[in-house]
């Protein structure tokens, strides 16, 4: 009896340890969010932060309200992530359909392995690849080469999430389409894909969020820029690059802007994540009906 009581309390004790470690795991999340919000808010509350571009550092006699902003970086991030999405999302969706619809084929295992490995490939190596492929031959940095690097990052995410969403669709839907005489491509693209749309959109959104936050692949492709540029053939600033460069400079005014840019970035990325969560919930409800 005594031994059993001890076993009971040992078990309870370890359960407590597990919960404590779980709490420990969530502390960094709280701290990152807290510091980004409190340190970033003073910069973000001024509307010019979103519209103006970089100004030279003004230490030690900074004006009370700085006129500098990260407008060029926000626009740059939107352009580059947009271009990357145009490249990666259609290819990723078609690749994912192949994996889900013809998943037993031998080749599909290689595609799966390739995309799982590509997800884990260091983003800086992808940046080097884009540099060698698109910066070296043209002799100048360009936003386009940055978007290609981001597209390579996004591609395996879109592929695997599309595969997951499409293979959730019950075979009855495909069979009824085929029974009505629809060709295979129309069954896949007009029947199965729309049914899987929420899951596919979730994957695309997650990949966009991942690309928007990446710094390393842009360092020597899009490079960075002090002013607003809209031409993808020129060097361009992006929000993560702004945070990286400003944070390491010894000027308080620029560090404050780095925190502001980090706050904008985190709101964008977490916002996209929460939206994708909502979309995914609709997929689950939809799959339940089918």
């Amino acid at each position: 009896m005594n031994r059993n009581v001890r076993r009971h309390y040992v078990s309870r004790g370890w359960l407590g340890v597990m919960y404590a470690l779980t709490a420990l795991a969530l502390i960094p999340l709280g701290l990152v969010l807290w510091f980004t919000v409190t340190k970033g808010l003073p910069s973000v509350v001024h509307p010019q932060f979103f519209f103006n571009v970089e100004l030279p550092p003004c230490e030690p006699s900074c004006p009370a309200v700085s006129d500098a902003g990260v407008g060029h970086a926000i626009v740059g991030t939107l352009i580059m992530v947009g271009l990357a999405s145009l490249m990666a999302i259609p290819i990723g969706i078609l690749g994912g359909i192949y994996l889900a619809e013809y998943g037993v084929a031998r080749w599909s295992n290689w595609v799966r392995l390739g995309s799982d490995v590509l997800v884990g490939t260091p983003s800086i190596a992808i940046g080097l690849f884009a540099y060698a492929f698109l910066v070296v031959p043209f002799h100048h940095f360009s936003a386009f080469s940055g978007s290609v690097a981001l597209a390579v990052l996004m591609l395996p995410i879109v592929t695997r999430t599309t595969e997951g969403a499409v293979s959730l669709i019950p075979n009855g839907l495909r069979e009824s389409g085929l029974a009505l005489g629809l060709p295979r491509w129309r069954v896949s693209l007009q029947l199965v894909l729309p049914a899987a749309a929420p899951g596919v959109i979730t994957g695309a959104l997650l990949s966009v969020a991942r690309a928007a936050g990446e710094t390393a692949p842009l360092l020597f492709t899009a490079f960075g820029q002090h002013i607003l540029k809209l031409n993808p053939n020129e060097a361009m600033q992006a929000l993560p690059v702004t945070v990286f460069k400003y944070a390491l400079l010894p000027y308080k005014s620029l560090q404050a802007q780095a925190w502001g840019a980090a706050l904008v970035l985190i709101i964008m990325v977490l916002g996209i994540n929460l939206i994708s969560r909502y979309v995914l919930r609709r997929q689950i409800a939809l799959a339940g009906q089918l």
Partner: protein
């Protein structure tokens, strides 16, 4: 009637041909993914060729990094990458498995929901935000409350001495936070895949929650958790920006984990845009090549482990 019966196979044959074409089209599009992977490796190999020719295998064991005299060796960067990653893994593993056990446990759905969302958000935070946080909050705190007290109490242990704010240890600390979601998500799936019967048998024999978890569930999920660990190792090896911001960027093999160091990816991130001449950029790209080959091997090994673990679970279930 007979006409109708004859007409049907004709339609079916006609419908099959575009179907095969569709299969070819999506199959070709899907091969972009492995093709890009191969292309990345080949491109880096080709770009690194001048350095590979000049230094050969000596590149991997030399410790010098001097763009002025064009003498380059990768050992300090390799040491930094490997040591930060393993240190991070050692810190993250117990926490990650604990969270996975809690997440896989039935009961307390509210706590599970909150923890699950929290871990997913942890995975979503961009690396550069971890970097700025580590640089201004985590590293100064860790210097004051971990590094200095530890080195004061362990003066006789050389590799715990000479604390600095930007150090190998602090880089490992932020890495540990960043790989935690990978570790947790996969370990949770593996633990969930453990056949219910095993657990029920243990409980029926009178085992407590902890005895069931420690002696039955975790041992049968061992291979998969190991796979998750290796996968997290791959992420840690490749992580660039956050590490670059806190590791201190000193191209040496430090004598203490509280001293500044450098990693493969950080050297590339800091020096590549300023690298000129024939050999310097090629040497940096060779660092990238070493990095990508190591992570490739680590990832493939981990994927095989996770796959065979989940297959085994499916077979025994």
């Amino acid at each position: 009637m007979a006409v109708g019966v004859e007409a049907r196979p004709a339609v079916a044959v006609g419908a099959r041909r575009p179907a095969d074409r569709f299969r070819t089209v999506v199959g070709v599009v899907s091969s972009v993914v492995p093709a890009v992977l191969v292309l990345i490796v080949l491109t880096l190999l080709q770009q690194a060729l001048p350095a590979i020719k000049q230094f050969g295998l000596k590149f991997l064991i030399e410790t010098d990094w001097n763009p002025v005299t064009d003498s380059f060796g990768a050992l300090p960067a390799i040491f930094g990458t490997v040591s930060t990653s393993f240190l991070a893994l050692a810190m993250a593993l117990p926490v990650g498995v604990a969270v996975a056990v809690i997440l896989a446990e039935p009961g307390h759905p509210n706590i599970r929901g909150i923890v699950g969302i929290g871990i997913e958000l942890l995975a979503a935070i961009p690396s550069v935000v971890y970097g700025i946080w580590a640089l201004y909050v985590l590293a100064p705190w860790s210097y004051e409350h971990l590094e200095v007290p530890v080195s004061d109490h362990a003066t006789f242990i050389g590799w715990l001495g000479a604390p600095a704010v930007r150090s190998l240890f602090n880089a490992a600390l932020v890495l540990a936070v960043m790989i935690l979601p990978t570790l947790t998500a996969i370990s949770r799936d593996v633990i969930k895949a453990v056949p219910r019967g095993l657990k029920e048998n243990a409980v029926a024999l009178g085992a407590t929650w902890w005895e069931t978890t420690w002696r039955v569930i975790l041992p049968s999920a061992r291979a998969g958790i190991f796979g998750a660990t290796i996968l997290a190792l791959g992420r840690a090896l490749g992580e660039t920006i956050a590490v670059t911001m806190v590791i201190g960027n000193q191209y040496v093999i430090p004598h203490s984990i509280f001293q500044p160091a450098y990693t493969l990816s950080s050297v590339i991130a800091n020096e590549f845009t300023e690298a000129t001449g024939p050999i310097y950029p090629a040497a940096l790209i060779e660092l990238g090549l070493v990095l990508i080959l190591v992570t490739l091997l680590v990832n493939i090994f981990a994927l095989l482990l996770v796959h065979s673990a989940s297959n085994e679970a499916r077979l025994t279930a």
